[in-house]
C-alpha cells in the first residue's frame, strides 16, 4: 500500500435505531421523522477515557463502509488509504466511526426505507433533510456510543460541510475539526450542477415521482447525474492525463457510441453507480447540500465565535468544484473568531477528487495535526548554530 499502512481487515456494518415515535427526530423543516436508523462502522478500540474517538463524515455518494473489507469483497472501504493501522487515522491509536448519512441508501433511513405508517417505501413522502439534520442524527449515534467529546470530526466535500456543521452546532463535543475541500455555503455554480443531475433523474420516465420501488428504477437518469458529477470531480489536467483523446479501439465507431476513452469511462461510472445508489437519495442529499449555508444571515465574524476546537482546513489547487477561495472563507471565519487554525492548499492536479487521492500530503497533515491535538503540543527546536 502506498503509505505502508495495513488494512483494518474484515469489518461489518452495524445499525443504531432511535427516535421511536412519539419521540421522533425533529427536523430543520419542523417535520418529525422516526424511527431513524443509522448504519455505521467502527475501526480500532475506544480507550478507557473515551478520548480517542474520530468521526469520519462521507461525501455525496459515500457510505458507512470507510475502511477494511466486507466479507468476500475485493474492494476496501472508500477511505481505506486514510484509515487503518499506521495510516493518517491510525486505528492502533484511535477509534474511528463512520456512519451513513440520514437520507442515504446504504442502511440509514432514507427515501428507500419503509415508512412505518404505510409499510411502503417513503419515496417522496420522505421529509426534506438538511446537513444540520444529518449532523443531529450523528450526534445521537455519538451519544449512544457514550462519547462525550470527539477527538476530531473529519471529511471532504459534503463530509466537510458536516464537519463545519459540527463546529457550529456542537462546538463543545469536538476537540478538533478537519474540513477538507468544502465550503460554508453552496454557490450558484455548485447548485447548478446538482440541478442538472436532479433533472436527469426526474425526467427519466421510470422515475414516476419517486414511486419506482419494486419497478424499474430511473437508471438512465441517475447514470447521467453521476456522469455530470464525475466531470466536476476531475480537472482539465487530470482528464487529459487519464484519457487524452485516446480512442477505445480502432474499429470504425458506430455513430455516437462511446469511442473516446473519456466517454467510456463516464458511461462505466454512471452505469456502475446505478447498481449501488438510490435515485431518490441522490435527489434528497443533493438538495441538502444545495441548501447548506452555515452563515445563513450570520456574520462571518460570529459563526465560530467561542470555538475552542483546533481546526485544520485543507484545500486543493486544481479543485474547481470547491475552489480554494471557499476554504479561505472558512479560514477567514476562524481568524476573526480567534480560532486556533491551520490552512494548507495542497498542490494537486486531481481536481475535487484530490481529497481521495492526494494521500501522502493529506496523511502528513492529518497525522501530525491529530498527534498535537491528542498529546498536546510538544515542540522541538532545530539547532541553528
Amino acid at each position: 500500500m502506498a503509505d505502508g499502512g495495513k488494512s483494518v481487515g474484515i469489518v461489518e456494518t452495524k445499525f443504531f435505531t432511535f427516535a421511536e415515535p412519539p419521540n421522533e427526530l425533529i427536523l430543520d423543516s419542523g417535520e418529525r421523522l422516526g424511527p431513524v436508523t443509522l448504519a455505521y462502522e467502527t475501526y480500532g478500540e475506544l480507550n478507557d477515557e473515551k478520548s480517542n474517538a474520530i468521526l469520519v463524515l462521507h461525501a455525496l455518494s459515500g457510505d458507512a463502509h470507510a475502511a477494511g473489507f466486507h466479507n468476500g469483497d475485493k474492494k476496501p472501504g472508500w477511505w481505506d488509504v486514510i484509515i487503518g493501522p499506521g495510516k493518517a487515522l491510525d486505528t492502533e491509536k484511535y477509534f474511528v466511526i463512520c456512519s451513513n448519512v440520514l437520507g442515504g441508501c446504504k442502511g440509514s433511513t432514507g427515501p428507500s426505507s419503509i415508512n412505518p405508517k404505510t409499510n411502503e417505501p417513503y419515496g417522496l413522502e420522505f421529509p426534506t433533510i438538511t446537513i444540520k439534520d444529518i449532523v443531529n442524527a450523528q450526534r445521537r449515534l455519538i451519544d449512544h456510543l457514550g462519547i462525550e467529546k470527539l477527538l476530531t470530526v473529519v471529511g471532504g466535500s459534503m463530509g466537510g460541510m458536516q464537519v463545519l456543521q459540527w463546529m457550529f452546532s456542537y462546538p463543545n463535543r469536538i476537540r478538533s475539526a478537519i474540513p477538507i475541500a468544502t465550503t460554508m455555503k453552496h454557490a450558484p455554480q455548485q447548485i447548478a450542477f446538482n440541478e442538472v443531475g436532479r433533472q436527469a433523474i426526474m425526467t427519466d420516465h421510470n422515475w414516476k415521482n419517486g414511486n419506482y420501488y419494486g419497478k424499474l428504477p430511473p437508471a438512465e437518469g441517475l447514470a447521467v447525474a453521476r456522469m455530470i458529477g464525475h466531470i466536476t470531480y476531475m480537472s482539465d489536467i487530470s482528464m487529459t492525463k487519464k484519457f487524452g483523446r485516446r480512442l477505445k479501439d480502432n474499429r470504425q465507431p458506430f455513430k455516437f457510441s462511446a469511442n473516446f476513452e473519456v466517454e467510456e469511462y463516464l458511461r462505466y461510472r454512471g452505469n456502475n453507480f446505478v447498481k449501488r445508489f438510490d435515485a431518490n437519495s441522490y435527489l434528497y442529499i443533493t438538495k441538502a447540500i444545495d441548501y447548506f449555508d452555515l452563515l445563513n444571515g450570520n456574520n462571518v465574524h460570529d459563526v465560530f465565535k467561542g470555538l475552542e476546537a483546533k481546526v485544520l482546513v485543507i484545500a486543493f489547487k486544481s479543485d474547481w468544484l470547491y475552489p480554494a477561495y471557499q476554504s479561505q472563507e472558512i479560514v477567514k471565519a476562524c481568524k476573526s473568531a480567534g480560532v486556533d487554525a491551520t490552512y494548507c492548499e495542497i498542490n494537486s492536479t486531481y481536481g475535487h477528487d484530490a481529497f481521495l487521492l492526494e494521500i501522502e500530503e493529506e496523511t502528513h497533515l492529518i497525522k501530525h495535526f491529530l498527534r498535537t491535538v491528542f498529546n498536546g503540543l510538544e515542540v522541538s527546536v532545530e539547532n541553528e548554530s
Partner: protein, 198 residues
C-alpha cells in the same frame, strides 16, 4: 534558559517577547522561531507562510499556520488581537511593505521587524567597485532568483518610522552573529527593530 544554540537575531527577538503572550509570525518559514518562542516563552503562536512545503514542516512541529500571502493575510483580524507581530526577514519580500506594517501595527501592540541592511559596507563595495548587484551573506541571492522585492537600509527604516510616526522601542544591529554598536548602517548586516504605534 539554554538559548546559546540560537542565532543572535532569534535571541534578540526572544528577549523582547513577554512570556505567555500571543504572537503572529508573518512569513514564519519552517516554524523554528515560533517553536523557540513556544518552548522558551510559552507563547500562543500563529504563523502565516506561503510555501506549501514550509507549511508541512510547521504542521509536523505542531504549529498552527495559514498558507497565505502576507500582503493580504491580516485584513480579517480585529484590532490589537496579538501582543506581537513578527516580520523576521520577510518585510523586504512583501509587495506592499507600507501597507503590511500599517496592518501589523493595527492587529498587534508591538511589531518586530528584521531585514538585511542594503547599506552595509560590503554590498556598497560590490556595487561601487564590482558594478554588480551585491551577493552577500545577508543578501545571498542573485538578481534573477531573489525573493527580495525591496532593498532598504537601517537608515531608511529609521527615517520611515519617523515619517509614519512609529515609535522605535528598541533596536539591535548584527554582523556575523555579533552585535554592532557603532555606525550600524555601515557595519551591520541585519537590523532588528521593536516598534509600536505612538
Amino acid at each position: 534558559m539554554r538559548v546559546d544554540y540560537l542565532k543572535l537575531e532569534h535571541r534578540v527577538i526572544l528577549d523582547w517577547i513577554e512570556p505567555h503572550s500571543s504572537v503572529l509570525d508573518l512569513g514564519c518559514g519552517d516554524g523554528n522561531l515560533l517553536s523557540i518562542l513556544i518552548q522558551e516563552k510559552q507563547v500562543h503562536a500563529q504563523g502565516i507562510e506561503i510555501d506549501e512545503q514550509a507549511i508541512h514542516k510547521c504542521v509536523a512541529k505542531g504549529l498552527s499556520v495559514f498558507q497565505q500571502d502576507i500582503d493580504t493575510g491580516l485584513s480579517e483580524y480585529g484590532g490589537m488581537l496579538f501582543d506581537y507581530v513578527i516580520l523576521s526577514q520577510s518585510l523586504q519580500q512583501v509587495k506592499n511593505p507600507d501597507f503590511v506594517l500599517k496592518e501589523a501595527l493595527r492587529v498587534s501592540k508591538k511589531v518586530i521587524v528584521s531585514f538585511p541592511n542594503f547599506a552595509h559596507y560590503f554590498p556598497r563595495f560590490q556595487i561601487f567597485f564590482g558594478g554588480k548587484v551585491p551577493v552577500t551573506r545577508a543578501l545571498p541571492y542573485e538578481w534573477y532568483d531573489t525573493p527580495n522585492l525591496h532593498f532598504l537600509s537601517i537608515s531608511d527604516f529609521i527615517e520611515y518610522c519617523k515619517k509614519r510616526n512609529i515609535k522605535i522601542e528598541d533596536s539591535v544591529f548584527i554582523r556575523k552573529n555579533r552585535r554592532v554598536k557603532i555606525f550600524p548602517n555601515l557595519f551591520a548586516e541585519i537590523g532588528v527593530f521593536l516598534i509600536s504605534n505612538r
